[in-house]
């Protein structure tokens, strides 16, 4: 009950947030934060229950006919993610409430944030693939709205569109993957899937489903080669970067992989693809961050790197790796959220986030500086921050990785060296480096802006100091949820002297050395990047979009040519060829030519109709064509009479008479036939006509000789007199059983009549 209700109320808060902003004035952020905070406390209170290994499941019917329901599934993994989403979300709302004050439409901004929070919280607690997909798409949409918040700037719109297209593409792939995944289970419920992962693994749909789901996860979590949307999304306001692009939305892909690990994981394909993509992303992200100068873009690239690390760890799948993944996830969310918020603060106070124009800020904002430096320490993986634990576990996992551990270890080492270097560089350059001329004196950020970063750093510090007591309960059940076979490792700061510690020390030293010689190294790296990575992925992406548009235009011009007869021809040929194939594969028709049921008069009528039809087609005279039309109509009337269609015959004879009068009245005004088509075109059309005509001929034979289910008209025959008091069944069907259809029909003919009236009378008046 609680999870669903909580989400519903959160959605309501999101819906009314833009309208209440006026009345709440500047307190809006604090007040909107109350509900997520309540949720945070609720999930915190669930921790002891979850520790017992309990899983809370709620289910609400959605479309029972299709077997779809909204199911919520709360286990250790969900609780950990919920705490992150709601806890950081609370801080972000407070932060955003203050941060966005100078901008227009801040109420709407808070509403979008809350909407996103609902969606993200929905993903982490959903217990049904379709439920998850719905929330998944909602995060894409709300992130589009948030990234494009400064919608008057073209680059903001472009980045928002880019993020939407990529995550939307991934979302479609994901839906396909989910559908395939559900086929062997005949269920979308997570509980069914988690109960037996071997069902899908031994099914031929495993590989297609896996590929599609991985595309969904990789696009969302900005994995190489889809990583470029994340740095692009830095055009969003800082609260968005801090929330969506560090702590939550980009983790959705990681969450999905973690969630489905018991179902899909453990195979060679799984571990290879995750490891390769993860390790590439990890290194590429870190490498590209080195030469960036925009503070937020640096952070974005390190986020890409961190996401790669997470995917790599899940792919590795050993006990250490899963432990490392969960701890690192927590670590990263805490320090990266802090750093993004601080980046926003620095931009707000100094007017820039280009690190070349930042320096000497320590004396203006010492408190903020300490918070940011502690977060950077965590990023560098220095004790006693939680980041140290995270990095140690990653090294342990890499050392013990089953395959290619040397390769992974080397790249992991290099990545960490870069992170250490960046931490040093950001801390020292920004807070002590050469001071530029600021437009106005920077000040300490106010309470709302600093509270969240402060508490998150504090959490990182406390969790790092007391890992087993504090971090253990948070992570242990999440670990078993990802991988039921593995236990949580008891976390501690001091591991003794071993290779991992040696690596840590080496990392710090190398990072320092890089920092020391940065003025020599950076230009070299810059030159290297410019030579080999000149074409940015963003540009490749947009040129692909352009190429696609060009292709679409060509295709439209080719298919939408505007000639009615070619549309019709396509339609006729395709349809009749398809049905021809069906007829070909069906049982052969057994045709008994029985001349006894062919009265001579009817044969004459049919022959007359055929002759009239053919002469109507070939005739060069419009009047002959009309006369032939009449012959056909009256011939059909005779057939109706012969085969018990009395009402039909009467109607037909009236309608046919009127139709000929009408056609005569119109033909009178039209010019004589002219030769429009070449002989070749005539031959071609005749061929198409023959194809369609013969197909219908076979169809009639097939229909006439097949035995079908009992006709539904038996009921009408039964009920016509007993229920509807009519002896003329045809009429009873028209005015009683199917009266609504008839009502529709007379409405149609009335509208046609009004149309004719309008075409003739009203145009005359205007002329």
């Amino acid at each position: 009950m609680t999870t669903g209700l909580f989400l519903l109320i959160l959605l309501l808060v999101a819906a009314i947030a833009p309208f209440l902003r006026k009345y709440l004035k500047h307190q809006a952020g604090w007040i909107y934060a109350l509900w997520p905070f309540a949720g945070f406390l609720y999930y915190l209170s669930l921790l002891p229950v979850i520790q017992q290994g309990e899983i809370l499941i709620e289910s609400y019917e959605w479309i029972p006919v299709l077997g779809l329901s909204f199911t919520f599934y709360v286990d250790g993994l969900s609780v950990l993610f919920s705490l992150l989403v709601l806890g950081i979300g609370t801080f972000i709302l407070v932060y955003a409430g203050y941060y966005m004050r100078p901008y227009p439409m801040k109420g709407r901004f808070l509403g979008y944030l809350l909407l996103f929070m609902t969606a993200m919280q929905g993903i982490v607690v959903s217990g049904n693939l379709i439920t998850m997909f719905v929330f998944w798409e909602l995060t894409s949409i709300s992130s589009y709205l948030l990234i494009g918040y400064y919608h008057e700037k073209p680059e903001a719109r472009a980045s928002a569109l880019q993020a939407l297209l990529i995550t939307g593409f991934g979302g479609l792939a994901l839906l396909g993957g989910f559908v395939l995944l559900a086929i062997p289970y005949d269920s979308y419920e997570l509980t069914t899937l988690l109960s037996d992962g071997d069902v899908i693994k031994n099914h031929y749909l495993y590989i297609p489903a896996l590929i599609l789901i991985l595309i969904g996860a990789f696009t969302k979590s900005a994995q190489f080669p889809f990583h470029f949307w994340l740095p692009g999304a830095m055009t969003a306001p800082s609260p968005v970067s801090a929330y969506l692009h560090s702590a939550t939305m980009v983790k959705a892909g990681v969450f999905l992989l973690a969630r489905l690990n018991p179902v899909l994981g453990g195979t060679e394909v799984w571990s290879y693809s995750l490891t390769i993509v993860g390790v590439t992303t990890m290194f590429v992200g870190a490498w590209l961050s080195v030469t960036q100068v925009d503070l937020k873009r640096i952070l974005a690239y390190t986020t890409v790197s961190a996401l790669g690390t997470l995917v790599l760890l899940i792919g590795t799948g050993t006990e250490y790796a899963i432990n490392a993944a969960i701890v690192f996830l927590l670590v990263h969310a805490l320090y990266k959220g802090t750093l993004f918020m601080m980046a926003g603060n620095i931009e707000k106070k100094t007017g820039t986030r280009d690190i070349r124009y930042l320096g000497g800020l320590f004396k203006y904002m010492p408190f903020a500086a300490i918070i940011m430096i502690l977060a950077l320490v965590s990023m560098a993986g220095v004790p006693p921050m939680l980041g140290f634990l995270g990095k140690e576990l990653i090294y342990e996992a890499s050392v013990a990785a089953p395959k290619a551990h040397l390769f992974i270890l080397t790249l992991g080492f290099l990545t960490n060296v870069i992170l250490v270097f960046l931490s040093l560089r950001l801390a020292i350059d920004i807070f002590w480096g050469k001071e530029p001329v600021y437009d106005k004196k920077p000040q300490e950020p106010s309470l709302s802006l600093i509270l969240g970063p402060f508490l998150m750093v504090l959490a990182s510090f406390v969790l790092g100091l007391l890992p087993s007591a504090m971090a253990g309960p948070l992570t242990s059940k999440a670990i078993t949820a990802i991988s039921p076979l593995h236990d949580a490792i008891i976390l501690k700061l001091w591991h003794g002297f071993n290779i991992v510690l040696a690596l840590s020390v080496l990392t710090l030293l190398s990072g320092y050395l890089v920092f020391r010689y940065r003025h020599q190294l950076l230009p070299a790296i810059d030159r290297f990047n410019i030579r080999y990575f000149r074409r940015e992925f963003t540009r490749v992406f947009f040129s692909m979009i352009d190429a696609f548009l060009v292709f679409t235009k060509l295709k439209t011009r080719a298919l939408q040519h505007g000639y009615h007869r070619f549309y019709l021809m396509t339609l006729f040929v395709v349809a009749s060829v398809m049905v021809w194939v069906m007829i070909w594969r069906a049982d052969p028709i057994i045709l008994e030519l029985n001349f006894s049921d062919m009265p001579i008069n009817l044969i004459a009528v049919v022959v007359l109709i055929i002759a009239a039809t053919l002469s109507a087609v070939v005739s060069n005279s419009r009047v002959v064509a009309l006369i032939c039309m009449g012959v056909i109509g009256f011939g059909i009337t005779i057939i109706f009479i012969a085969y018990s269609g009395v009402d039909l015959a009467i109607t037909m004879i009236m309608v046919e008479t009127l139709m000929i009068i009408l056609a005569m009245a119109v033909v009178y005004h039209l010019p004589k036939y002219q030769n429009f088509s070449s002989t070749g075109a005539r031959m071609r059309d005749a061929l198409v006509a023959t194809l369609v005509g013969t197909f219908f001929m076979v169809l009639v034979l097939q229909a006439g000789t097949s035995t079908l289910d009992a006709p539904i008209s038996a009921y009408y025959k039964e009920a016509s007199y007993s229920l509807a008091f009519g002896r003329n069944i045809v009429n009873v069907i028209l005015v009683d059983f199917r009266a609504l259809d008839t009502l529709g029909e007379i409405t149609v003919i009335s509208i046609a009549a009004l149309g004719i009236y309008a075409m003739i009378k009203l145009t005359k008046k205007t002329n």
């Binding site: 009467i650 009068i661 009408l662 509807a724 008839t742 009335s750 009549a753």
Partner: protein
């Protein structure tokens, strides 16, 4: 086109055809006929007249207008579906009432018959509207 024969025929045939169309409408529920056929006959009566005397003269001689006739037909058809709603059934369910129960004149009347009348007028009006419009050109 002035044809004495056609004019005389049309003048006498029109009331006859109208009466015939009513008969066809009435007996449609049990015998061949019904609203469609009746409506077509009713329309045909006027078209015949219009062919003999011209559209303008035909419209002078009638007290109704084809558009109104169509609208009336649609209205009757829709209204005939409403009693079912009052009785708690879904729209257009037939509702019947028997007059003169258990006498020689027992007569069952129901909403489907009213609906058929609606069809009759709608078809007749539509036909006249179309034909008059085109014939006037």
């Amino acid at each position: 086109m002035e044809s004495i024969i056609l004019q005389i025929a049309a003048r006498h045939l029109r009331p006859l055809l109208i009466v015939l169309s009513l008969v066809v409408l009435y007996r449609g529920h049990n015998e061949p006929g019904g609203g469609f056929i009746g409506g077509l006959m009713f329309g045909a009566a006027y078209i015949l007249y219009a062919m003999a005397f011209g559209v303008a003269k035909t419209q002078e001689s009638t007290f109704f207008n084809p558009i109104n006739l169509t609208a009336l037909g649609l209205l009757i058809a829709v209204v005939s579906g409403l009693p079912a709603l009052l009785l708690g059934d879904s729209f257009m369910t037939g509702a019947w009432y028997t007059f003169f129960k258990q006498t020689a004149f027992e007569l069952k009347l129901g909403t489907p018959l009213i609906f058929d009348v609606g069809v009759y007028f709608a078809v007749a009006g539509m036909l006249m509207l179309v034909m008059f419009s085109i014939m006037e050109e």
